[in-house]
Subunit: 454 residues, 2 copies
Amino acid sequence: MSDETTKYLLGEDQIPTHWINLMPDLPGEPLPPLSPATKEPAAPEELLAIFPPGLLEQEMTPEPEVEIPEEVRNAYRLWRPTPLYRARRLEKELDTPAHIYYKYEGVSPSGSHKPNTAVPQAYENAKAGIKKLSTETGAGQWGSSLAFACGLFGLECEVFMVGGSYDQKPYRRSMMETWGAEVHRSPSQVTQAGRDNAQHDSGSLGIAISEAVEVAAQDPDTNYALGSVLGHVLLHQTVIGQETILQMEMAGEEPDVIVGCVGGGSNFGGLTIPWLRRNLRDGAKTRYLATEPAACPTLTKGVYAYDHGDIAGMTPIMPMYTLGHKFVPPSMHAGGLRYHGDSPLVSALVHEGLVEARAYNQNECFRNGTTFARTEGIIPAPEPTHAISGAIEEALAAKEAGEERVILFGLCGHGHFDLAAYDAFLAGTLEDPEFSQQDMDAAVSNLPEGVPSL
Amino acid sequence: MSDETTKYLLGEDQIPTHWINLMPDLPGEPLPPLSPATKEPAAPEELLAIFPPGLLEQEMTPEPEVEIPEEVRNAYRLWRPTPLYRARRLEKELDTPAHIYYKYEGVSPSGSHKPNTAVPQAYENAKAGIKKLSTETGAGQWGSSLAFACGLFGLECEVFMVGGSYDQKPYRRSMMETWGAEVHRSPSQVTQAGRDNAQHDSGSLGIAISEAVEVAAQDPDTNYALGSVLGHVLLHQTVIGQETILQMEMAGEEPDVIVGCVGGGSNFGGLTIPWLRRNLRDGAKTRYLATEPAACPTLTKGVYAYDHGDIAGMTPIMPMYTLGHKFVPPSMHAGGLRYHGDSPLVSALVHEGLVEARAYNQNECFRNGTTFARTEGIIPAPEPTHAISGAIEEALAAKEAGEERVILFGLCGHGHFDLAAYDAFLAGTLEDPEFSQQDMDAAVSNLPEGVPSL
């Protein structure tokens, strides 16, 4: 018989009114991004070539909170607040004394947390008179979210989709086109960066970013939009964590550990930043666990260094954990986690020991994702199966210890466009792509020169 | 710039506590289903071979309301209450004075309204000690919903999926398998009904029903489950309409017309029955519009007669609009509307003039579905694009008349598994399958003999 469903719903008036900026609460000065041209701290003017003033202001703000524009909050109401569930059926399946909670962002129109930042990015660009946004997308979650958001604010949208994902998830492309976007398979023939990297046929986020930045740099009416990594993106995603604070209060529990998957870091940052700030202020000993694919182990095997965000070296040089901007991760289903680098903020938190990191294999993740689907009813995207794997590992550790620990994780999207991967898993033909230490070592030997070492 | 989002949310305590049975409010005695063997009114014992007592009781109840079991309400809380939106961006696009509202059922784990009945069906069967449910599915919405619900209550699930949809929507199959169900392409080789109809390679709901009923009839531990048509299915779906009554009260408006798409009638019935009952009691002049595909125009071109629900003539003979149980509708993307017959209740409402019916072409529906996606942000399944088409036609009529009419329609599911169809539409290669009056005339000449004429 079915166990009790426990869902925590907020009213629309509880959609956050502000985004949270963690920087003022962190000790020391943040390491600045560097100009790829001069290797000196990047001047705001350089970034204005591809970002509108509103976003740049959010990127650089010293304020601990940034007010969410009314137009953005209004669009958020299409799907926010999102539900928080207690995973009672999963707990029972694991026979664990742990209490497992998950925040579900898959109720958005594009099915993930990405519209939380796509909407304010489209809004600020439209406000600045920009006509078109160009971007890259891995699994397609970000590209489809931006296509959706551009539709709301009357902008055109051009998307470079990583080749491997383009082939695996044709319906993500259809979704973007249904919303009116133009989609290219990356590496494409329409940019220099694409033509230069044609040999990497399955593509990578690093290549697709170079293509999208190139398109934006050539047209004054076109701006670039990035779905993760940068400060303003993490800022926008803090609506997730803020809602979970209210919802865990409704549940009357305090998390012992908060788990999220990390690609560029926006999902993880969005979930954890509001909690981290609270902990930094009240001294509570919450643990934070960042989970990633064993095939692209940026946080667990990367080096902490200044590196480019893209393969062509066009983006600012940022301090982060990196496998080297020339590293092309092996093809895998969690396309959203297939990035050589990571958000400077999440990297710093890991470097400072405030966040732990752990890597999981693809088959392990799909096994846990299937267990989750069969118990909780929601089929997760491949990306959050890494968070599920972390949460399950924590729940089994609690069982081992005989402790009633409280676990909160981020279920950042559904897997409706990833069922070919579940097919392969169920048929026993899913591969565990291997991480190449050698390739990474070669890529890391190409880190930019003349930059501060960390 | 984005227009105001208007969403009406209910609290969990507003999930209905009862289902609504319209029968006691309708004049006259209902026409009984007939036994396929004797052509006499079917005895409850005959139905007990495939349905559990709890569902049979709900099927036959004379009570105007049936209490929802606590275990079912509890599972409903996984996704209910569902949101009601005002389609302000669509209104603006159409430049209409009409106010358009839509109830969105796509937030359920399987993405449509179908779990509203899958859950109570799985519950009643589990309670009766049944081990497995067999069923048919067209577009896969019902099969995936039943697979999900069986998972919640520990039942096995075997699904016969209509061949055309099986080929068009492979990920619906993957979804069912991820939830643990066994899926056959219908017509299959595992049943007599399947082998007998192997020549209809793209299958039909009528064939798939025969297959699933055959499997259930042969094993005492297996029951059959039907996703539409029958009284208890429409009963379960009345949670939709009840919630919309509360939500339209929040909006402070009363619908002038309520629009839903009709395949077997459960979505339409679920949305309209609570409103119809209110109107029958208070005499209000709300209009009801049932929309269907021009390629399978049961309500607009069918005959009102006693007919079988399946091609093999194994189900009870029911009074309904039918194209003949031997009619195999042409292949189309709205697989959930590809059924030769219709719910006896919805048929009677159309026959009595309480409900209007209108048919739309496939391309017209996808054009309207794309307009909806680009304005409202949700990509609709092909089935509700028929409701969208009806709503848009009504909104344009209101514009023509210069009247501020209030339109409510049911958006019964998302189109995440239907993007190949959107692809074809956007590429201009989507077909408009033709209805064959000749085939229907031939099928209708095979209506069962020795039954009352209507």
